[in-house]
């Protein structure tokens, strides 16, 4: 393999998007991935397409990227469900909290609407009584990320991109060295291998942030929107272990129940005590959940950066090396946006968003 314009290292949802956009620009692309496409944290993820109002720079990236998702969601294998998002206030949230949420989303350009208590139960009768209301974002939904990643790779390959099922052991001055010892030559390399970033770019810290999910048998029509607790972003920013209410109706009719966050664990063994805390939180909003059957549980390692924003851009001190990694729990939502920004930067185009917040250099001073 030689003479590529771009080598993409790691083909999860972010790498796949980078490969697709690059190939669409006429670049000759090589993709290197040791496992199934989208088989890492991409496969473990919830697949939500939602703008989370944590950090403003993250919200901006999410909003931008969601618009780009529209070119993918019509493909049936992506299993896009236009269920919308319903941010659900807990009894301790007051009106001001709901208003503030609405304002933050709207300021970022998200089309969000206030839902009062009456409206809440019309939309989701399974919610526990006594909740004050929430915020609804109609134009959001869920996808099946491994299939979306595979679709992006198929489109790239249709334009001549090549896929090599190998791992990259080293970045060289003109490409990458593979596990079998061979070198792939490329003008530019983008490292998009998520939680494994430190193996190739140890100067860019990645903190694996373990999360658990439980999926149920099929119960179609029980819930209609992806439901998220209003203060979800607090859980994201809580450095200690945390759980948050986040339940999603899959197109199959199964319910996907999340979410949990913890640092310090680097394996994906399911921790039953954490799952139990997560379920307890979910029951606080959906008391009927208890009688539904859990089918499977799993854990994934979100690639988190020290400040919670992804690394997007050229890597300081390494010529021709770029990075698109560290998306924590927003990798699926922000994949097309990240890829678009990165490829534009590679081609020297002015970027649509200010990329300073995601500049890898920010942590290397």
């Amino acid at each position: 393999m030689s003479g590529f314009d771009l080598i993409v290292v790691g083909v999860g949802i972010v790498g796949a998007a980078c490969a697709e956009y690059a190939s669409a620009e006429g670049m000759r692309v090589a993709m290197v991935e040791p496992g199934p496409i989208g088989g890492g944290v991409t496969a473990a993820s919830m697949g939500h397409l939602a703008a989370i109002d944590g950090d403003p720079a993250e919200l901006a990236l999410a909003h931008y990227s969601l618009a780009l998702w529209s070119q993918w969601v019509d493909a049936p294998q992506v299993e896009f469900s236009h269920c919308g998002t319903l941010w659900v206030a807990s009894p301790s949230d007051d009106e001001a909290a709901i208003d503030a949420k609405l304002a933050r989303l709207q300021m970022a350009g998200v089309q969000a609407e206030r839902v009062d208590a009456t409206g809440l139960y019309q939309l989701e009768p399974e919610l526990i009584p006594g909740l004050p209301g929430g915020v609804r974002v109609v134009d959001e939904g869920v996808v099946y990320p491994p299939a979306a990643a595979r679709l992006m790779v198929e489109r790239a390959c249709a334009r001549g991109a090549e896929l090599r099922r190998e791992c990259v052991t080293e970045l060289t001055h003109d490409g990458v060295r593979l596990g079998d010892g061979t070198i792939v030559h490329g003008a530019e390399t983008v490292v998009a291998c998520g939680t494994a970033l430190s193996r190739l770019l140890p100067e860019l810290p990645i903190l694996p942030r373990k999360g658990h999910l439980v999926i149920t048998q099929r119960y179609p029509g029980r819930i209609h929107h992806q439901l998220v607790q209003l203060g979800y972003a607090d859980s994201v920013h809580d450095r200690a272990g945390s759980v948050a209410f986040n339940v999603q109706p899959r197109p199959t009719g199964q319910l996907l129940i999340g979410s949990s966050r913890e640092f310090g664990s680097t394996d994906t063994t399911v921790s039953l005590p954490v799952v139990q805390r997560m379920l307890a939180r979910a029951f606080e909003f959906l008391p009927g959940l208890g009688s539904l059957h859990a089918l499977r549980m799993w854990a994934g390692l979100r690639p988190a950066t020290p400040d919670g924003l992804p690394y997007l851009g050229s890597v300081p001190g390494r010529e021709h090396v770029w990075v698109a990694a560290g998306h924590e729990g927003l990798g699926v939502t922000t994949a097309p946006g990240s890829a678009r920004l990165l490829v534009d930067a590679m081609l020297g185009r002015a970027s649509v968003l200010d990329m300073t917040p995601y500049d890898p250099a920010r942590l290397l001073s």
Partner: protein, 437 residues
């Protein structure tokens, strides 16, 4: 809420019952769990229409009558931690702690895909037995028994006892292999007698060797079966096709506990030493879960495990030679009842491999491992948690069985959420469980 047992036994078939009796004989407090409402497992499954055979009755009574044995019916294991099991039962869920654990989870049937196998009326061979015993109406129904293994004769017998008209038995092994198998049975006179008796009672039922089912046909229910044999093809109209290809050990609980398995076989089985001790301290296993060996093997191994679990090493060791003899039968069985290539060849591109998620054979072709196939096709993501398709694909040489996470079976979320009182239950020193071979 917690309850402590000296010995906890999962599975109340022959192995579990024997283990319970053995452990209780030394005064241990024994908990015997089974997902079914009655003890007996599959081999001694309670038949609503008939009294249990003498041997079964004696074992059931002697094991369950002991006052130290608590039979926990309709109780399934959801998850496990060291020294404790989370179990679900109709009233809810709770944690049970134990000093020793004996996994006697038995086996399930190997059910292989073929065109039309999803039609109502197509069941396993053991499957039809189980259904008949739980009261499924078979009187006057035309039943064809097919597949391979000694189970086919027992199925035909049960079907007939429940009033069915058994049209025939189609055994896929060749006559030559069958003869070799039978010739080797002299070492196990009990088995030989059993086989001879069954054959004699079924003398009027056509027994075709070297035959396989190639297709089941019907609209909403089975109507006709295509079979293929050495002398060509034929069709048989019938109401039920009871087809099975032997048994697969139920190892999921042992795997969840981290027990080492035997390497190299299509279907994993739990590796144990001469005292039925697994690679995990305090965890024993006995019977089919350690490799398909039949009822006698299960009874002996269950007894060994029950003695060993309470430290009664002399009693356990005393059963060693009987165990070796019974396990040799298992090897004899495995040697002869090997699946042949025609079972793969009859599968068509649109033959469903994963019944839960309607995944056809063509969707899983071209994938290098089970995980890729699963992510791409949803094969194994359904209600049976990949047990049926997983075992079938392993038997067909397609993918080896994958890893395992809890829950072991679909479980109510409220049960799953039942927290243990502490994460590390204080356990007494595990009974002497060395690893001699």
């Amino acid at each position: 809420m917690r309850e402590h047992y000296d010995v906890l036994i999962v599975g109340a078939g022959p192995a579990g019952l024997a283990a319970a009796r053995a452990a209780a004989s030394h005064g241990a407090r024994v908990g015997l769990l089974d997902a079914q409402a009655h003890a007996g497992g599959q081999v001694w499954r309670r038949d609503v229409m008939q009294a249990a055979p003498g041997k079964a009755r004696r074992h059931l009574q002697s094991s369950l009558r002991a006052s130290q044995v608590d039979f926990l019916a309709q109780t399934s294991v959801v998850a496990a931690e060291s020294g404790a099991l989370l179990v679900e039962h109709p009233e809810g869920a709770r944690w049970l702690t134990h000093d020793a654990l004996i996994v006697a989870a038995g086996a399930r049937e190997l059910l292989l895909p073929f065109p039309g196998w999803t039609l109502p009326g197509v069941t396993g061979a053991g499957g039809l037995q189980a259904l008949a015993k739980q009261g499924w109406p078979l009187a006057g129904k035309r039943v064809l028994v097919a597949g391979s293994g000694p189970l086919l004769l027992a199925t035909a017998m049960t079907a007939r006892r429940h009033g069915a008209q058994v049209l025939g038995i189609c055994e896929h092994m060749s006559m030559r292999t069958l003869t070799r198998f039978t010739a080797g049975l002299w070492r196990w006179p009990g088995k030989l007698a059993q086989a001879a008796t069954l054959r004699a009672r079924l003398i009027d039922v056509s027994y075709r060797s070297g035959h396989i089912v190639t297709r089941a046909l019907g609209d909403d229910h089975l109507r006709t079966v295509d079979i293929e044999g050495p002398r060509g093809r034929r069709q048989l109209d019938c109401d039920y096709l009871a087809v099975g290809h032997g048994l697969v050990p139920n190892v999921e609980l042992a795997q969840l506990l981290g027990c080492a398995m035997h390497e190299g076989d299509a279907h994993p089985s739990v590796r144990v030493d001469a005292h039925q001790h697994t690679s995990i301290d305090g965890v024993f296993a006995a019977g089919e879960t350690c490799g398909i060996g039949g009822r006698d093997c299960a009874l002996i191994e269950g007894a060994i495990a029950g003695h060993a679990a309470v430290g009664a090493r002399a009693e356990a060791a005393g059963l060693a030679s009987r165990r070796r003899h019974a396990r040799a039968f298992a090897a004899h069985l495995a040697q002869h009842f090997v699946l042949d290539a025609r079972l793969r060849e009859r599968i068509e591109p649109d033959t469903l491999v994963c019944r839960c998620e309607d995944v056809p054979w063509q969707s899983i072709e071209g994938h290098v491992d089970a995980r890729s196939a699963k992510l791409a096709s949803r094969c194994g993501m359904g209600a049976c948690q990949g047990r049926i398709c997983g075992s079938a694909l392993a038997a067909l040489g397609r993918f080896p069985h994958g890893g395992l996470r809890p829950p072991l079976f679909p479980v109510r979320l409220a049960a799953l959420a039942t927290a243990s009182l502490s994460h590390a239950p204080a356990s007494a020193v595990a009974p002497n469980a060395g690893s001699e071979s």
